[in-house]
């Protein structure tokens, strides 16, 4: 059978291309232009070469916020991925409880990010918030507005609450797509719980888990709204992750040059790590 060549399809891609050009490519080009210049406002720019890149790469402030960002991202991945799989495994595959579980799981995902931040802020306040009050009543000295450890605990707990559902739903989609024949074959071979999970369920979930890890990695690496509303980067700078620091430099200090250089470095790190994750996972799948 001859393959039909139809180049008209490219015309249908054109609107998307125009949209992406306006919301991604042109802003990115502008950021590149800003990163090599200095401005004092009034649309007047002065050439500064790679000075801002040198400054950002050697600044302790950038190193610290990058470290905090990596700590945050890997902590939530280490919690959300296993927890999401575990919850998906306990969910019913058939019967009237399926839609109930799915809706319950989807609820946190439907709440706007700034609302999640505000909710958790109030929920965790030591004097009037339920979480803060209970923890203090149990004898813990908990105050996320004053103690960095508590702020981190609350930030991670909030992210786990908000986003584990995504991992659950993706894992669940992978689980329900496994045909019964696999389980029957496992039963004949005498395979029990762990063996079934290791050799049937986990390999079959690999593709959706790749998507889950990538989505959670990229999203958490770019976290801004929830963290900003919950802690605002504090106490001190203890929860100032990359995006919060970037906004402080760009909008707080109005240092557009250093902020542009920092955002390009930030972008390249996300691009590299996403590519490494994707390549490793796809390679495992092939092998």
């Amino acid at each position: 059978m001859n393959k039909t060549v139809n180049q008209k399809a490219w015309l249908f891609v054109l609107p998307v291309f125009v949209l992406v050009a306006f919301n991604a490519i042109i802003p990115l080009m502008t950021v590149v232009n800003y990163s090599v210049q200095e401005t004092f406002g009034d649309n007047t720019f002065f050439w500064s070469g790679v000075l801002w890149f040198e400054e950002v790469l050697n600044s302790e402030r950038f190193h610290d916020s990058l470290f905090r960002q990596l700590m945050f991202t890997f902590s939530i991945l280490a919690i959300e991925i296993p927890l999401g799989i575990a919850i998906a495994l306990t969910m019913p595959r058939k019967g009237p409880w399926v839609p109930v579980c799915l809706v319950l799981m989807a609820l946190p995902l439907l709440i706007p990010w700034n609302v999640v931040g505000a909710m958790w802020n109030i929920f965790a306040l030591p004097d009037i918030g339920f979480l803060g009050y209970v923890l203090n009543a149990l004898g813990f000295d908990y105050n996320f507005t004053r103690q960095p450890g508590d702020a981190w605990f609350t930030l991670i707990l909030m992210d786990v609450w908000h986003w584990t559902s995504l991992v659950v739903l993706l894992s669940y989609a992978g689980l329900v797509s496994i045909p019964d024949a696999y389980y029957q074959a496992a039963k004949i071979d005498g395979a029990k719980g762990w063996a079934i999970f290791r050799h049937i369920q986990l390999p079959k979930m690999k593709r959706v888990l790749t998507i889950a890890v990538l989505l959670r990695f990229m999203d958490s690496f770019m976290i801004y709204t929830e963290a900003s509303v919950l802690t605002g980067g504090g106490p001190g700078n203890s929860t100032t992750v990359l995006s919060i620091d970037l906004v402080k430099i760009a909008l707080g200090q109005f240092d557009l040059g250093p902020a542009a250089a920092m955002s390009l470095i930030y972008f390249l790190i996300i691009l590299l790590l996403s590519w490494v994750f994707y390549t490793l996972m796809m390679r495992n799948e092939e092998s």
Partner: protein, 93 residues
Amino acid sequence: MNMTWMAWTWPTAAFFVFIACCLATMTVLELKRPGGAPRRGILGLDTTRGDRLFIWLLGSAFIFLFWLGFFGTPLYAPLAIALCWGFVTFRWV
């Protein structure tokens, strides 16, 4: 159309023209020899020529960043390393 808000400079414009030329070359190559010339390179990855371009550009960006972070300007040495990296990528990766 007033484009002053984009704060164009000649070096950054040249950079984007270079990227556009790379993409145009890839398109022409794909039209002439469709399929993307897939192969398994020294990293053990299955790459097409588009993947190799991506690996080259991303790798070069990090070569420049590392050089700037550790040694600063001038950037002739990382430019040479990036060109060598490009040769290695298109030849063996």
